[in-house]
C-alpha cells in the first residue's frame, strides 16, 4: 500500500495506515483487558464488545486521519458528544458550519434523482458529517473516506487473520 503523508525518512513510516493500526490495536487491547475480568461468553457480551470494537475502529481511523477532513471531524465530534453525555461536555462547537451552502445541496438534485430517493441524500447519510456539505465537498470527502475505509478493512482483516491463527 502506498504510504500517505510520509513524513521523514528517519522515523519509520507514520502513515495513516500505521497510525490507525497502532491506535486500533491499543483499543482492542483495552477492550480485551476489560474482557478478561468478565469471563462470560454470552452473546450479549459479544454484542457489546462488537459495538465497542466498531466504535474503536471508527474513532481510531478518524484520529489517524486527524481533523483535516470533515468526516473525521464528524466522527470525533460524535464520539466526544457521546462521552459528554456521560460526563462534562468538552466539545468546541463548530460554529462556522457553512449553512449558506445548503442552497447548493439540492442544486444537482435533478441530475441524480433516481428511483425516488436522491442519491446525494443517500451519500450524505453514508459519509459521516455529510449532512451539511455541498455536493462538491461531499464528493471529495467521499473519495477520501473510501480510501480510508479500504485501508481500515485491510488492516482489520489482517489483524483478524493473525489473531485467529
Amino acid at each position: 500500500m502506498n504510504p500517505k503523508r510520509f513524513s521523514s525518512s528517519t522515523r519509520p513510516s507514520t502513515t495513516v495506515k500505521s497510525r490507525f493500526a497502532c491506535g486500533f490495536l491499543r483499543a482492542l487491547w483495552r477492550i480485551n483487558r476489560q474482557r478478561r475480568t468478565s469471563t462470560s461468553a454470552s452473546s450479549r457480551e459479544i454484542c457489546r464488545r462488537y459495538l465497542r470494537v466498531k466504535v474503536a475502529a471508527d474513532v481510531s481511523m478518524a484520529s489517524a486521519v486527524g481533523s483535516r477532513r470533515a468526516w473525521s471531524r464528524a466522527i470525533l465530534l460524535r464520539k466526544l458528544r457521546n462521552q459528554g453525555q456521560n460526563g462534562t461536555v468538552r466539545v468546541r462547537r463548530m460554529s462556522n458550519i457553512p449553512r449558506m451552502r445548503k442552497r447548493n445541496i439540492c442544486g444537482n438534485k435533478c441530475t441524480e434523482e433516481v428511483a425516488g430517493t436522491c442519491q446525494a441524500e443517500q451519500l450524505r447519510k453514508l459519509v459521516p458529517g455529510g449532512e451539511e456539505m455541498d455536493m462538491c465537498n461531499l464528493l471529495g470527502e467521499t473519495a477520501h473516506y473510501i480510501e480510508c475505509l479500504t485501508t481500515q478493512v485491510n488492516v482489520m482483516r489482517r489483524i483478524a487473520e493473525i489473531l485467529s491463527t
Partner: protein, 366 residues
C-alpha cells in the same frame, strides 16, 4: 467555392432586412481593419479566402463607404478584376454577418468576425472551433444554398453574443472554453494575433456569459472532476457512463466497505484470546514501528483452539522469546522501514516460529 454565387445572392437579398446589424457591422469594420494591421498570416488567410492578392484585398476593405452595405456602390466602385462573387461577398461581409453555409468560408468569416482581441492562439483556436461548433449546427440543416436564410439566423446570434462577450473579461473562462473546444479545432489553423489589453470571452453556442452561469459552469466542472476521481477509486466504475449509475456504484461500494468493517469488528470481538498481554512497556514508546513490536507480544499469547498450546509455560517461553526478538527488531528498524524479510517462507508452525512469522508478516503488511 461553387455554392458561393447562390449563397451570396441569397445573403444580399436578406441583408437589407437586418438593420440591427448596423452596429455590429461597424464593429466588424473596425475589427477587420485591426485584423489587417495584424501580421500577414491573417491577411494571407483572408486573401486566400478571397483568392486575391493582399493589396487588392486591402483596397477592397478600405474602399467601402461608411454607410451600410449596399452592393451597388461597391460594385460601382468597380473593383476591377474582382468577380461579382467576391464583391458581393465582401459587401455582405462588411455589412452583414450573414455567412454562406459553405464550411470553409463560414469558418474563416467567423474567424474574422471574432474580435480577435488579438488574443493568443487559445482564443483564436477556440474561435474557429466555436465557429465549427456553429457550423455543425448549421450543417445539420440541409446544406443547400437555399438554406442560407436558415443558416444566417443562428449565425446572427454570434455577433450579439460576441458583443456581450466583449464586455466580460474572464481569462479563466476563456481558457476553459478553449480547452473544451480544442478537441473540435483539429483542422483549424490558429492565427497569430497581437495581444490586446482586454480579454474576450467567447461563449459556446447556446450558453450565456453572465457571471452566474459562469460560476455555475465552474462549479459543474469541479463536480465532474471529483466524479472522475471517484470513478477511479471505485473498482469497475470506469466503464460506467452516466452520473446516476456511477453514483449508485459509489454508494454501493461505501455500503459494502462499511459492512465489511462491521463484520470484521464482529469477528475481532468474537476472537477468544487467551491473553497474557505484556504491552505496557511497548506502548510507552510511540512510533510507527510499535505496530511491529506489538504484534509479536500480542500474537504469541493468543491461542487458536486448533493449535495445541498447553499451559502457561509456553506463554512465558514465548514472552521471553519476544523480548529477545524485540531487540533485533528495533535495531533493524533504525535502518529502514521496508522489511520485506524472506521469512514468510517459513511454514513451520511451532510456537517460536509462528510468532516470528506473524511479526514478519505484519512488518511486511505495514
Amino acid at each position: 467555392m461553387e455554392p458561393n454565387p447562390g449563397t451570396l445572392a441569397g445573403s444580399i437579398s436578406i441583408r437589407p432586412d437586418q438593420e440591427e446589424t448596423g452596429f455590429e457591422s461597424l464593429q466588424f469594420r473596425e475589427e477587420i481593419q485591426r485584423l489587417i494591421a495584424v501580421p500577414p498570416e491573417n491577411a494571407s488567410s483572408f486573401t486566400a479566402l478571397l483568392e486575391l492578392p493582399a493589396t487588392q484585398a486591402m483596397e477592397l476593405l478600405h474602399s467601402p463607404p461608411s454607410e451600410e452595405g449596399d452592393p451597388a456602390p461597391l460594385s460601382g466602385d468597380s473593383l476591377h478584376g474582382i468577380s461579382d462573387d467576391h464583391i458581393s461577398y465582401i459587401s455582405s461581409f462588411n455589412g452583414n454577418p450573414t455567412f454562406p453555409s459553405n464550411k470553409a468560408l463560414v469558418e474563416r468569416a467567423a474567424k474574422f468576425s471574432v474580435f480577435a482581441s488579438g488574443e493568443n492562439s487559445p482564443e483564436t483556436s477556440s474561435v474557429p472551433s466555436n465557429s465549427s461548433a456553429n457550423l455543425e449546427k448549421v450543417k445539420s440543416e440541409p446544406a443547400e444554398t437555399d438554406s442560407n436564410p436558415n443558416s444566417s439566423q443562428p449565425l446572427v446570434s454570434d455577433p450579439t453574443v460576441e458583443s456581450k462577450t466583449q464586455r466580460s473579461a474572464k481569462r479563466k473562462e476563456r481558457e476553459k472554453k478553449g480547452k473544451g473546444c480544442t478537441k473540435k479545432s483539429k483542422n483549424e489553423t490558429s492565427q497569430d494575433a497581437q495581444k490586446l489589453p482586454y480579454v474576450h470571452v467567447r461563449a459556446r453556442r447556446g450558453q450565456a456569459t453572465d457571471s452566474h452561469s459562469l460560476a455555475e459552469r465552474a462549479r459543474r466542472e469541479k463536480i465532474n472532476a471529483r466524479m472522475k476521481l471517484l470513478q477511479e477509486l471505485v473498482p469497475g466504475c470506469t466503464k460506467i457512463s452516466g452520473t446516476a449509475l456511477v453514483l449508485d456504484e459509489i454508494i454501493n461500494h461505501v455500503q459494502s466497505l462499511q459492512r465489511q468493517v462491521e463484520f470484521l469488528s464482529m469477528r475481532l470481538a468474537a476472537v477468544n484470546p487467551r491473553v497474557d498481554y505484556n504491552l505496557e512497556g511497548l506502548f510507552a514508546t510511540e512510533s510507527g514501528s510499535l505496530v511491529d513490536s506489538n504484534f509479536p507480544s500480542m500474537v504469541a499469547p493468543l491461542v487458536c483452539p486448533e493449535i495445541p498450546f498447553n499451559g502457561s509455560r509456553q506463554d512465558y517461553q514465548q514472552q521471553w522469546h519476544f523480548d529477545a526478538l524485540q531487540q533485533p527488531l528495533w535495531g533493524r528498524e533504525e535502518d529502514s522501514h521496508t522489511f520485506i524479510t524472506p521469512d514468510n517462507s517459513l511454514l513451520s508452525y511451532d510456537s517460536a516460529n509462528s510468532a516470528s512469522l506473524h511479526s514478519n508478516q505484519l512488518k511486511m503488511e505495514l
